[in-house]
């Protein structure tokens, strides 16, 4: 087992190096760089850019050097925690990202909780009552949730919330609380704003989860051990929770790997539409304006989380499911 762990950890290093090269290359693929995009943007709105300042920054950040040198400079910085400099914000990347992470965590965790809270009972119910009218109705609702474009739902909910509840449009709190320290009022304001993004981001995820849970559970419910347990007179609920449901959970644990980066990046499109102060819109903006260190370091951070997440979910699976644990043991 220890050898397995060390092996897994060592293999992360070349994976991350490869990812960093891919990220850096892709970010630099579109023509131009941050400054030419910035100048073009200013000029198209009639403003002239301060060329002296831009030339100064270009020289400072080695834009005149070959690409591989720039890569080494960036990757070297990452190794000792320097994520580079954001040109758009005129600040080190660490400081730019810092403030938004908390909000992103809040939105994402609430969304995940919402998804679980809605999807689990429905999924279990529709599996145990397959093809009942309730199953059909819930399935229909789930498909509706999956099929509705989330940005449209976001706009509709924003408008309704503003007109009927007086909630300010967009953002995660009333504008007057943005720079205040945390207080009860601020928390309430966040709660009043939070439900829209949670519902919007949650609906699609909820539907998908209901379908998967239902399918997994149906597979298990057909198995012979369930029939045997029933025949021996085990109480239906106890039977359901103790055996088939546990087996049906495996896919969710292996999902943790993709969940971690999702928690950080948030749902970018919905966040843009709703103007949430999360990291999603920032990443999108950085990519569009070719703010390369901000975008690159951010993507790298997400790649790192994915790799860690996959690692954790593998360990968790082994711990939770004896079959996987024993098979792994036999192979070694």
């Amino acid at each position: 087992m220890l050898r397995y762990l060390v092996h897994r950890i060592l293999i992360m290093i070349p994976t991350l190096v490869a990812i960093s090269i891919v990220i850096f290359t892709i970010i630099n693929l579109p023509p131009g760089d941050y400054f030419s995009t910035y100048i073009a943007e200013l000029q198209s709105s009639g403003e002239a850019a301060d060329l002296a300042k831009i030339n100064f920054l270009k020289a400072q950040y080695g834009f005149d050097r070959p690409l591989w040198e720039q890569y080494i400079f960036w990757a070297g910085g990452l190794l000792h925690g320097d994520m580079g400099y954001s040109f758009a914000y005129n600040l080190p990347v660490n400081q730019v990202v810092g403030d938004r992470l908390l909000m992103t965590f809040i939105v994402s965790f609430t969304t995940i909780l919402f998804t679980y809270a809605v999807a689990f009972p429905i999924g279990v119910y529709s599996a145990t009552h397959q093809y009942s009218w309730a199953d059909h109705t819930l399935t229909l609702l789930g498909f509706l949730g999956l099929a509705t474009p989330s940005f449209l739902l976001a706009l509709v909910l924003l408008y309704l919330a503003n007109v009927y509840f007086g909630v300010s449009i967009g953002g995660l709190m009333d504008p007057k609380y943005v720079d205040r320290p945390w207080s009860l009022d601020k928390t309430l304001s966040v709660a009043a704003h939070l439900w829209i993004p949670v519902i919007v981001i949650g609906t699609a995820g909820t539907a998908a989860m209901i379908r998967r849970l239902r399918a997994n559970l149906l597979d298990e419910l057909q198995k012979q051990y369930v029939v045997t347990a029933r025949a021996k007179g085990l109480r239906p609920l106890k039977l359901l929770f103790k055996y088939p449901l546990r087996m049906a959970l495996n896919p969710f644990i292996s999902d943790i790997g993709s969940l971690l980066p999702h928690v950080i990046s948030g749902a970018a499109i919905v966040s843009v539409v709703m103007s949430l102060p999360t990291t999603g819109p920032m990443l999108l903006d950085a990519l569009r304006s070719q703010d390369m260190y901000l975008a690159g370091s951010f993507l790298m951070f997400m790649a790192f989380l994915t790799v860690i997440g996959v690692f954790i979910s593998d360990l968790a699976l082994a711990a939770l499911d004896p079959r996987i644990r024993l098979q792994a043991g036999r192979r070694q």
């Binding site: 579109p30 023509p31 131009g32 030419s36 995009t37 073009a40 943007e41 000029q43 198209s44 709105s45 009639g46 403003e47 002239a48 301060d50 060329l51 002296a52 300042k53 030339n55 100064f56 920054l57 020289a59 400072q60 320097d82 758009a88 914000y89 005129n90 600040l91 080190p92 400081q95 730019v96 403030d99 706009l155 924003l158 408008y159 503003n162 007086g166 909630v167 300010s168 449009i169 967009g170 953002g171 009333d174 504008p175 943005v178 720079d179 309430l188 304001s189 009043a192 843009v272 539409v273 709703m274 103007s275 102060p277 819109p281 903006d285």
Partner: protein, 660 residues
């Protein structure tokens, strides 16, 4: 000193501005704003606390001894918060634009007057003597003197590390730097051998030429003045690469993202970026007062909330902004109007300043030889222009509210003549067909004309793909061009890529906004009408040739383009207003006849949302970048909130308070 004694004009206290303000005369000219008989100064209520605690000196010691007296429509009461929405943290610079505290500034009637300066003397457009206000202070209370000008001129603009590309171009007519003299604590002089007509308009620009810096604040970060060890430690602490990078990072007079940087603006930044909400507080040392002795600005705080630019119209409609025009477009008008009463604001419609909302640019430098020959054929350009149905575009897309015509100056400009807009601007497909027949472009069997080499006449119009407005207009032009046997295709690409394709000559025609400054006066540079920069989509290579002083690009080789260039040079060298007007007129005439760009409609309306309680915002205005600085020209320091009005209904009185 030659000419009449300028001192007399400086001390002149007649209350009439206009008489003292004439620019561009050959003789010595003095510009001065009369002081006006000001009443006793009054302390702003929000600062009384700080003055009482001794944190701030009383108002008499804060405003300059000779403050600027604002001429306002109504005298206001100080106080209140102004909320605005911005699309990104970089937009903090808009407060420098809106604040519009400039050494010299434009009035709403486009006259240049001293603003921060008490007065200025101009001799032959060559020698500029600037007089500061005695006792004028930076926002941190330190005196604003000629040393601040000297610091920029000697230690910033001429420092190889801080300004690697040298002095700004508008300080270098014919590549010649001025002689700079400090005459006294409040007087400096710039002396050029040749006229420099760009100097004053640039000082008054929305993104102005800052020829001064808060020297007392920046010196500790300058190699020449700081202790080496202390500076090195600072550089290390802030993780900058060297002292120049640190100095440049702190010195953001335009970008306005350093809350510690002293400023002369009406509101100064208090929030340290990054943030999603920026607070600007009143500058206690501001130099303007109203006639009753209230120090401006009236409004205590300006709050910029950052939101995605696409959601800003919706937020504005929900009453979350007290003064908003940025990121609003004409097609938001009906939506905004619908919630006017519910959210206590009014939507006003201001005119915009570009010469044409949307203009087509035949690329005279396109690479394809056949196309290039055609684009350079005057008859071809005229025919294309005649086949654009401007009336239809106006009616269909702008509800008939825009001004039809070519891409040139607007009727509000003193240089305007109707024939500039109307030349080749009527809809006449028959004449257009005749011109194309004359060139010898025969129609094929499908009704589409053919190029001399047999290819069909299919014009690909490239655009930056960012506005649906452009593609709507192009669709209408496509239909009308079909009638003269010309096919139009749209090719959207990303903004940077689009410009690159035009610059390199890969694109043969492009579409973009028309000329920026449709309101030009004779004293403003006619650079947009001559090949002066690569940014001009009709002749990028000729522009690049001028911009790089011949190092890249191609010299202009169409006679009229050459003539435009000569006229531009003549304008630069001219001293008198008559000469400036003459060169302008000839350029406009050539521009009208040659149809270098094909205009559609101009003066499209800009919705401006104004809170019901906000006063002194004009009903009718021009929303323009330069000259105008958007709201700047109307001096927002004089805007104020009228809280006296009794609430008409039971609804909550404060702007957009949200019930919870």
């Amino acid at each position: 000193m030659p000419g009449p004694n300028p001192q007399s004009a400086v001390i002149d206290t007649r209350p009439n501005r206009r008489e003292a303000l004439q620019l561009g005369l050959a003789a010595v000219v003095a510009l001065a704003v009369p002081d006006g008989a000001s009443a006793e100064l009054r302390e702003s209520p929000s600062l009384k606390g700080d003055v009482g605690d001794g944190k701030l000196p009383p108002v008499e010691q804060r405003v300059p001894e000779e403050p600027a007296v604002a001429e306002l429509e109504t005298i206001g009461t100080p106080g209140g918060e102004l909320r605005m929405l911005m699309g990104g943290p970089k937009d903090t610079r808009m407060m420098v634009v809106y604040g519009y505290a400039r050494l010299v500034a434009y009035t709403p009637s486009l006259k240049l007057v001293p603003d921060i300066l008490k007065s200025i003397e101009v001799e032959d457009n060559r020698i500029f003597t600037l007089h500061l206000r005695k006792g004028h202070k930076w926002s941190d209370g330190q005196p604003f003197t000629s040393e601040d000008f000297r610091y920029w001129f000697e230690d910033v603009a001429q420092n190889k590390h801080l300004s690697p590309s040298g002095m700004p171009v508008s300080m270098l007519p014919q590549s010649e730097a001025p002689r700079f003299e400090v005459i006294s604590d409040t007087t400096v002089r710039y002396n050029w051998e040749r006229p420099n007509p760009l100097f004053l308009p640039d000082l008054a620009g929305p993104s102005p030429l800052f020829i001064y810096r808060p020297a007392h604040y920046l010196k500790p970060f300058h190699q020449k003045y700081a202790q080496k060890d202390a500076l090195d430690a600072l550089v290390k602490d802030t993780k900058q690469r060297n002292w120049a990078a640190l100095h440049n990072k702190l010195d953001t007079m335009y970008r306005d993202d350093n809350p510690d940087l002293p400023s002369l603006d009406p509101w100064i930044l208090k929030t340290k970026p990054p943030a999603d909400r920026f607070i600007f507080e009143r500058n206690p040392y501001y130099y303007r007062i109203d006639k009753e002795g209230n120090q401006l600005p009236y409004i205590d705080r300006v709050i910029l909330s950052i939101a995605d630019s696409k959601i800003i119209p919706a937020k504005t409609g929900a009453g979350e902004s007290d003064l908003q025009a940025r990121y609003l477009r004409f097609d938001n008008y009906t939506f905004l109007k619908a919630s006017e009463t519910r959210n206590h604001y009014k939507v006003r419609l201001w005119r915009t300043g570009p010469g044409s909302q949307i203009a087509l640019y035949p690329n005279l430098n396109t690479n394809d030889e056949v196309w290039r020959g055609l684009m350079r054929d005057l008859r071809f350009r005229r025919a294309l222009s005649l086949a654009v149905d401007r009336h239809e575009i106006n009616q269909v897309i702008y509800f008939g509210l825009a001004v039809e015509g070519q891409n040139t100056l607007l009727p509000q400009s003193p240089l305007f003549e109707p024939r500039y807009r109307s030349a080749w601007g009527r809809f006449d497909p028959a004449e257009a067909n005749r011109l194309l027949d004359l060139i010898g472009l025969a129609k094929g069997s499908d009704g589409i004309r053919q190029l001399p080499d047999g290819r069909p006449l299919e014009i690909i119009v490239e655009n930056s793909g960012e506005s649906t407005e452009q593609s709507d207009v192009l669709e209408l032009i496509r239909d009308s061009w079909r009638r003269i046997g010309v096919k139009l295709f749209q090719k959207p690409s990303q903004l940077t890529l689009f410009r690159r394709r035009v610059f390199s000559g890969e694109a043969s025609m492009s579409v973009d906004k028309g000329i920026e400054n449709g309101l030009a006066t004779a004293a403003m540079s006619p650079w947009e009408f001559a090949p002066t920069t690569q940014q001009q989509l009709e002749w990028p290579k000729w522009g690049q040739y001028h911009e790089t002083k011949g190092a890249a690009g191609e010299p202009p080789n169409l006679p009229y383009a050459v003539r435009l260039m000569q006229l531009y040079e003549e304008w630069l060298a001219a001293v008198s207003e008559e000469e400036h007007t003459r060169t302008w007129r000839e350029m406009l005439q050539i521009w009208a006849e040659e149809v270098f760009s094909i205009g559609t409609v101009a003066g499209v309306l800009q919705p401006v949302v104004v809170n019901d309680k906000l006063r002194n915002v004009p009903e009718q205005g021009i929303y323009n970048w330069d000259p105008g600085a958007y709201f700047g020209i109307y001096k927002p320091d004089g805007f104020w909130f009228d809280m006296s009005e009794p609430a008409k209904s039971a609804s909550i009185d404060l702007p957009a308070a949200s019930p919870r």
